[in-house]
């Protein structure tokens, strides 16, 4: 079975045709439990997220701030396995029909086996993968298998990326380009970095692939601001924080649904 790269492309195109940015939510699998995590993904989509990135927790999340580190810790201590991550993708896709990507670090995929991972992710209905510590020059093997199985290869670009490097990255990527709004790790920030708009402009100059902005975006107002210049708005830590801060699981799920609703209005503010 082929993966859902096409569904991802169509979803981003549909948002564009509505004159708005897409809302992309990030939630780690296995947090707080595997079933609880699946519920959270469904709640984010039910609340208004167009696309979800499911995190495959890693023992050494060097690009994540304290919020996602805490969630990863909880998931790993709960014994989450790659099979559970794939089940999260499968159930979320089956229930919603939305594009579901996986976001993780390279070592778990490398160890599991690139062919096995891409085949099973496609079979589960996944749309692609984001591997932020796999730079384009090391990504040949991954790209070959992702393409074979109809999965998107979403690369991250950063404010420090030089123009010629942006061109090389966007030429290799599919689905969308993940533009990191600032230099730093995941986590909520008070304001959207001024570097974000410039990076989107420089990235757009190299590709017609949609450019979505993440890192530090957490509020509806920030989502609205980013939506003015980007094709998608990616929110992660703010969802995880709703779950961590909630008095109980049900309240956490409602918090995710409510935040997705508020952010969905944010990305439509200028439509």
């Amino acid at each position: 079975m082929s993966g859902n790269l096409r569904l991802l492309d169509d979803t981003l195109a549909a948002a564009k045709s509505e004159g708005r940015a897409a809302l992309i939510a990030y939630l780690p699998a296995g947090f707080p439990t595997v079933d609880g995590g699946i519920e959270a993904v469904k709640a984010a989509i039910d609340g208004g997220a167009d696309i979800v990135e499911v995190g495959l927790p890693h023992s050494d999340p060097v690009l994540d701030g304290p919020v996602i580190q805490t969630a990863d810790d909880i998931a790993l201590r709960g014994g989450v396995r790659i099979a559970d991550v794939l089940r999260t993708v499968r159930e979320a896709y089956k229930a919603t029909g939305r594009p579901i990507l996986v976001m993780t670090y390279w070592n778990p995929v490398d160890r599991y086996g690139v062919e096995r991972f891409t085949a099973e992710l496609a079979e589960a209905g996944g749309a692609g993968c984001i591997l932020p510590d796999l730079p384009v020059q090391e990504s040949g093997l991954w790209q070959e298998h992702a393409e074979k199985h109809g999965l998107a290869t979403v690369f991250v670009v950063a404010p420090s990326s030089k123009d010629e490097r942006l061109a090389r990255i966007t030429a290799a990527g599919t689905g969308f380009v993940y533009a990191a709004s600032l230099m730093g790790v995941t986590g909520t920030r008070e304001t959207v970095s001024s570097q974000a708009e410039d990076l989107v402009r420089r990235t757009r100059a190299t590709t017609s692939t949609p450019v979505c902005v993440g890192l530090g975006v957490s509020t509806p107002a920030q989502a609205a601001e980013v939506a003015r210049f980007a094709d998608g708005v990616i929110v992660g830590s703010a969802f995880v924080k709703r779950m961590l801060d909630a008095p109980d699981h049900a309240a956490g799920i409602e918090g995710v649904r409510a935040l997705a609703g508020d952010l969905a209005r944010g990305v439509r503010a200028h439509a």
Binding site: V62, P135, E138, P159
Partner: protein, 427 residues
């Protein structure tokens, strides 16, 4: 005039342009760090070919560090090593007390060349942290050192030294709270502050060019030892032995001997309580290839690529990764790696102290324990050089608790539990 102490690999054999030593190495880093890591590579390449850089570094290594370091024959210790002749390369006599200063001074000069004003570093035993704090004091650079919380307790003396030197020491409370987690936290800092900050990486791991650059700064260890042995013993050694955590002192000793096929290169990994107990940090003996901290190398990991928590009594060896060049030396058969338990290392620490009046770091004691084994295998005709990578002052609290050296009632009573606590903390 060729430089005396800064002696990068003149052949430029490995790594490849992409940073690979055979199947190991590379550059697995987030996009946000690509420009900075590339800048380090370009700047190091320029510096390597700049006589002024070599002159400046040579001057520091001679008059600040105190190079060349001595080569000491240890006959009373060697009686326990099957009667083989044993020489110690005395990196413990360098300023700051370990080999780490060789690399730190080189990278500190590079930091100045790049116009950066702040340095961050990780540290396990605190030796790299102390060396970095020292160089930052010398050059007037801001300095932040990340150290696992467990290690800040078992190496409290080095924490105080770093603070005395003006560095900020951050106790890292994530994961196993040891060296691996200190590196994770340093990477997080670097991503956010890369415009004015250099990550002064302390070992021969990490993304290209760090494994090659850090090796080059330590290469003087083996170059000196080789020349000193030829003068003193009249021949090349049968074995060059060093402890390996990340592998910097070992590659420093080994590298100049790689073309000498008769010299066995033997790395001693920490077996902790024994590999069979699962409580160890013997990456090459028990790990599998994977990616950790920016390069492909052997890694202690589970079947789904999660890094497993290492254990060693030695904070400086308590690391689940290893420099990629060591992985290549292992797979190519040029290097041999054996595992040494906490108990064997501590026994060797006591033996060297009692027989030669030299108290080694617990890290280096792993190499000494390996030398006792190898010496017995070689017999009286054997000739061994061991890298004594650091001195043991920092380890006196751990050693005192281990051997029961404190004499107040409370501390004697606390002795057994104290050792257990330290070991428990490190798990």
């Amino acid at each position: 005039m060729p430089s005396t102490f800064f002696i990068p690999d003149p052949e430029g054999r490995l790594p490849s342009a992409e940073g690979y030593f055979g199947a190991f190495g590379g550059k697995f880093i987030p996009e946000a760090l690509v420009a900075a890591v590339d800048e380090v590579a370009v700047e190091y390449d320029k510096a390597k070919h700049d006589p002024e850089f070599a002159r400046e570094l040579d001057d520091l290594l001679a008059h600040y560090t105190g190079r060349p370091s001595a080569l000491t024959e240890v006959p009373r210790f060697a009686e326990h090593a099957g009667g083989a002749r044993v020489f110690l390369k005395r990196e413990d006599l360098n300023h700051t007390g370990s080999h780490k200063i060789n690399n730190v001074l080189g990278q500190a000069l590079l930091t100045k060349r790049m116009g950066k004003t702040r340095v961050i570093a990780e540290t396990g035993a605190g030796q790299h942290g102390v060396a970095t704090a020292t160089a930052c004091a010398l050059f007037g650079l801001d300095c932040t050192v990340y150290m696992g919380e467990v290690d800040t307790r078992r190496q409290a003396l080095n924490v105080a030294r770093m603070r005395m030197l003006g560095a900020e020491v951050v106790a890292v409370k994530s994961g196993s709270r040891t060296l691996k987690d200190a590196i994770n936290e340093a990477f997080r800092d670097w991503v956010a502050n890369v415009d004015h900050t250099h990550y002064l990486f302390g070992t021969v791991a990490g993304p290209h060019p760090f494994p090659a650059m850090v090796r080059d700064f330590h290469r003087v260890i083996g170059v000196e030892a080789r020349r000193q042995l030829l003068e003193r013993a009249g021949r090349l050694p049968d074995a060059a032995i060093a402890c390996v955590g990340g592998g910097s002192n070992a590659i420093g000793l080994f590298h100049a001997f790689i073309p000498d096929a008769s010299v066995r290169l033997i790395g001693c990994e920490p077996a902790g309580h024994g590999i069979e107990t699962g409580e160890h940090a013997a990456t090459l003996s028990a790990g599998e290839p994977g990616i950790l901290h920016g390069s492909r190398s052997y890694v202690l990991q589970d079947d789904e690529g999660q890094i497993t928590e290492p254990y060693s009594i030695s904070a400086g060896l308590d690391y689940p990764g290893i420099g990629p060049e060591h992985s290549h030396l292992k797979d190519s058969g040029r290097g041999e790696y054996r595992a040494v338990t906490d108990a064997a290392a501590m026994e060797a620490l006591r033996l060297l102290s009692r027989t030669e009046g030299i108290i080694p770091a617990i890290e280096s004691a792993h190499a000494l324990a390996g030398a006792l084994e190898v010496g017995r295998e070689l017999g009286p005709d054997g000739l061994i050089v061991v890298n004594l990578s650091g001195r043991g002052d920092k380890d006196m609290d751990t050693a005192a608790r281990y051997f029961g050296l404190y004499d107040t009632d409370a501390e004697v009573a606390d002795d057994a539990t104290g050792t257990a606590e330290i070991e428990e903390d490190a798990k």
